[in-house]
Symmetry: C2
Subunit: 301 residues, 2 copies
DNA sequence: TATCTCTAGTTGTCCAGGACATTATCGAGG
DNA sequence: CCTCGATAATGTCCTGGACAACTAGAGATA
């Protein structure tokens, strides 16, 4: 596996890979006949793990110096403390994970659809989908899930949410909310959950999907006369870019347009005027209510 | 705009940008106080254009040497000859484009839904969505569409197709088809169109979404006992990687599992045993019929 | 003890210029 | 007109150095 393939697979840049090798002695790829790096599969696997741990806040130097056992410990340690299922719907969550592992797609669909029907869309998203995402993320992190199993799960949820959104009556209510993610943020699940919740409350949602350049977010917000621009940042979004990104976007948008920042990445943004941080889904609903109660809004709607 | 931002925005690698500057004298970024490259917006815009033309087969040396007028000529020349609307549903296509430009989301949804109802899913996809995608691609290429307009359009089609797929009766028929795209291929639209067509014919579709590592495609195919693995490559997929990718995947999969390669990128793959190229949607339907008529298949189902 | 500040270490990204495998182009000969 | 080899074009990889931005821990201060 050459350096480009590893970059693609692990998300670590070429420069980073070379500099780690130079500094820490890991990874230690073999070379082909032209002196180009060839990474064995097990090193790539370890790099993937390291990337996850680093995104959680651990430092590369530590991980490279770590022995095998120590490394394994860290992998597991990273996975468990985050666990905090609010309970209640644990059954559905456990069953979902089991069905994904069993590769039983039909039963998985049935289970999720039933849960949605039973609880209603709002509670389903807040009480089931959100913790389920966490649980699947953890399962993947700890190696219990293969990548393809995570993809399969994710695809099912996306499909389900899109369908639910599509079946809502076409909304023309206020506020008008533009939803998207910035470049480099590919995760669409959070966006879909928010879109569903907001549409359910009668807001008009205009989704641009993922990775919209900032200039285009601005243009779209103006063109569609949005009252609010909502962007979603996942936990994987590079923490150091969050601040600059949010304030840059804030500066580009007219002050009459609110900027909402949601998702796990929002926790690393700093609050400021005209920027609303939404670390949880419930906060999103509260923000909507807040917006509607704000008398100043009458001007802009 | 620094070199990383340009890489992300244009799809041209850092190395490529530096080597062009060295060899052709374009782009010619300014430097900040630390000697790092700063690309002005207009050069980035031109780079974006160049990338498109290069993907169409033009050569960088030529483009860099080209004068302003010559460049403009090439841009337009590249856009027009590809036009080949099969007619018939031009009205819907024209209206769709007009509605996107007018930012009238509600009317756009209505129009597309109506067209789908009127024609039926299969004809809608083959006769409307496919040419529409080409038309939008061209509009974007020629600068008639902003990025956000293309995103908006794409989001609507995705939503519509997903909903249609979800409303089909849960299929348990043969063949079992695993659908996904390889890493570096983010375009999901082609995949959705194919999924809809195949599900409509009673095949069991298992979609993993985009960017599944090859190893995981293999694992998923085995785990779900797929008869066929179908991957979609868009026109944007780097041509030189197609061959290696397809043959590598072919080698990983058991011979009992067919490999279908679809999308605009499939035209650049070379035919080989066990690899079915599907340059058009119609070819996909034919391939499905072919698979079902193949007596040898009885063994694997 | 708690909080702040400063310094030394860590880390990702950038740069230059060289090398080379691969791919396209073009001219000569069948 | 087509095929084949030489030549040029092109993207990607390499090394090794630099540095800005960030982190952590020691020490000072209240």
């Amino acid at each position: 596996m050459n350096i480009s393939a590893v970059e693609r697979d692990t998300g670590l840049g070429k420069d980073t890979l070379r500099v780690w090798e130079r500094r820490y002695g890991f990874p230690q790829p073999t070379r082909d006949e032209h002196g180009e790096r060839l990474y064995p599969a097990e090193q790539v696997e370890r790099l993937r793990m390291m990337k996850r741990l680093i995104d959680q806040g651990l430092r590369p130097g530590r991980l490279c110096a770590a022995s095998e056992e120590e490394f394994a410990t860290l992998c597991n340690a990273g996975a468990s403390p985050a666990r905090s299922d609010p309970g209640q719907h644990e059954a559905v969550i456990g069953q979902t994970i089991a069905l994904v592992k069993a590769n039983d797609l039909a039963a998985l669909r049935r289970l999720l659809k039933q849960a949605m029907m039973r609880l209603g869309l709002q509670r389903f998203i807040i009480d089931v989908v959100a913790p389920l995402n966490d649980a699947v993320g953890e399962a993947w992190m700890s190696g219990a899930f293969e990548v393809f199993e995570e993809h399969l799960y994710s695809e099912q949820i996306k499909s389900l949410l899109r369908q639910a959104i599509g079946n809502l009556p076409a909304a023309g209510g206020t506020p008008r909310i533009l939803l998207t993610t910035p470049p480099d943020e590919q995760h669409v699940l959070g966006l879909l959950m928010v879109e569903a919740l907001l549409a359910l409350e009668g807001a008009t949602c205009i989704s641009l999907g993922t990775q919209t350049p900032l200039v285009d977010i601005e243009m779209a917000a103006r063109a569609h006369q949005a009252n609010i621009v909502a962007i979603s940042l996942s936990a994987a979004f590079p923490a150091r870019q969050v601040g600059a990104l949010v304030s840059q976007l804030r500066q580009m948008l007219p002050t009459a347009i609110d900027l909402w920042v949601g998702g796990a990445g929002a926790q690393r943004a700093t609050a400021a005027t005209g920027i609303v941080l939404l670390p949880t889904l419930q906060a999103t609903l509260d923000a909507l209510e807040g917006w509607r109660n704000e008398p100043a809004r009458v001007r802009h709607s």
